[in-house]
């Protein structure tokens, strides 16, 4: 064990660094799974939302509003406490997180997709119709290709948000990066009584390193999409 006075050294004691990164990986992979499962669902729901069926629209809107209005943390609790009991199967925290985040992602993506689809100028749709295209052809040849530029950056932004939100996993017993951090602080409370600053600071940094590049990519793509639209 290293000198007791330098709090940051505990980050590099034993397997702590690998463990912290492992915790981060847990968070990121949960976010990744949620996206893999939520995005396709969201795209379908979003495409359905531009149909004129009022019942379908109301139901999908309700679904979106539920996930919009209830804080994510509360959604996580709802799923954590209620899902396993109702489903009668053994579900661990990770699975619950993936399902809860996945449904949330689907809700957000459905709105992104809908927003992007209806942002395609009306006269483009008219032009497609004037060529005799049917609904699916309009979607495939006109709406989707012209709105994908808007969807991609919004989706990347959402991915960053999902990763940040995985910090809440700590509260449903998933061994995420923060939980690992706390384990480390406790195991070393004698040698490093002030490790909190360093451990939390390091976790802060880890999140930033993961999320910031995503935000930058999203911004660059957004800018390009805007220039394309004007050009």
């Amino acid at each position: 064990m290293l000198a007791a006075d330098a709090g940051w050294t505990i980050l590099f004691t034993g397997d702590n660094l690998t463990r912290l990164l492992g915790g981060l990986w847990t968070s990121v992979s949960i976010a990744g799974l949620a996206l893999v499962f939520g995005i396709p669902l969201g795209v379908v729901l979003g495409a359905l939302r531009i149909l004129r069926n009022p019942v379908l629209r109301a139901v999908l809107r309700l679904y979106l509003e539920f996930f919009r209005i209830i804080p994510t943390l509360v959604i996580l609790f709802l799923f954590y406490y209620i899902l396993p009991r109702e489903m009668g199967v053994q579900v661990d925290g990770e699975t619950i997180a993936v399902v809860a985040f996945g449904l949330w992602v689907a809700a957000e993506i459905s709105d992104v997709v809908r927003g992007a689809l209806i942002s395609v100028p009306e006269h483009q749709i008219d032009a497609g119709k004037a060529l005799g295209m049917n609904g699916l052809q309009l979607l495939w040849y006109v709406r989707l290709p012209q709105s994908i530029n808007l969807m991609v950056p919004a989706t990347i932004n959402l991915a960053a948000r999902v990763i940040m939100t995985t910090s809440l996993l700590l509260l449903i017993s998933v061994i995420d990066v923060i939980t690992v951090g706390q384990q480390i602080m406790e195991a070393n409370r004698m040698a490093h009584p002030d490790s909190a600053f360093w451990v939390y600071g390091f976790v802060f940094l880890l999140y930033f390193i993961v999320c910031w590049p995503l935000a930058m990519i999203a911004r660059a793509l957004e800018k390009r999409a805007k220039e394309r639209n004007n050009g």
Binding site: Y80, G88, A187, P193
Partner: protein, 260 residues
Amino acid sequence: ACGGSSSSDGAASSQQGQTVEQIKKAGTIRIATFGDLPPYGYVKNDGTRAGYDVALGNQIGKDLGVKVDWVQVNADGRVDALKSDKVDLVLANFTVTDERKQVVDFASPYMKVSIGVVSPDKAKITSADQLKGKTLAVTKGTTAETFFTQNYPDVQLQKFDSKTQQFQAFKDGRVAALADDNTYLYAWAKDNKGYTVGVKTLGEESTISPAVKKGNKSLLDWTNKEIKTLTDQGFFEKSYQTELAPSFTSDIKPEDVIIK
């Protein structure tokens, strides 16, 4: 990565949780424990779990002939971990109380405990009455929280999610004192100079037991038998010496903690 995940093999559990046979068949037992409470349940720098509770769990696993799958919980998650079938057994300093008996089944006790209060030497608290109008740190879902809520309503409680957080806040001087099971207060006060367990026992002395899902008779009976066997074999005394004694001050005797 750290053994936190439980098996999710999809085997539909009965209303009462997994029977001993089912556990043996599955080859793993899922046990809830703390991850931030040395010397009872914590994670060493190499990532392995250790502590008094953990030692018991490992022994249980060995005697069942199955692998132990540790699920880290916080105090307020222990009941729901059982209720929602996330674990088979709780070994997380789970104090037996009447309220809890309504919702889970406790096996025979393996430790004695009562609530203690630790405070800084500079402003030592020696009786619960001194706490009136002051703030006291507790962890959510612990007996200390319930005890003070019911018996000392004019003590202001600051409720934390985890042990780490409550001790951290206490050390930062955010509260006048901290109440928790006296046994870990002893251990904590030894690690942290300048703090003393001024109130050693509050309320009735209670016991700490393994808990299973309400109605899981199979596992309950097996655990009761196991505790008896282990007590007879002197397992808890040995475990006390290796896991707890190094963390306790010399005025604490094994009789104060373990059940003969």
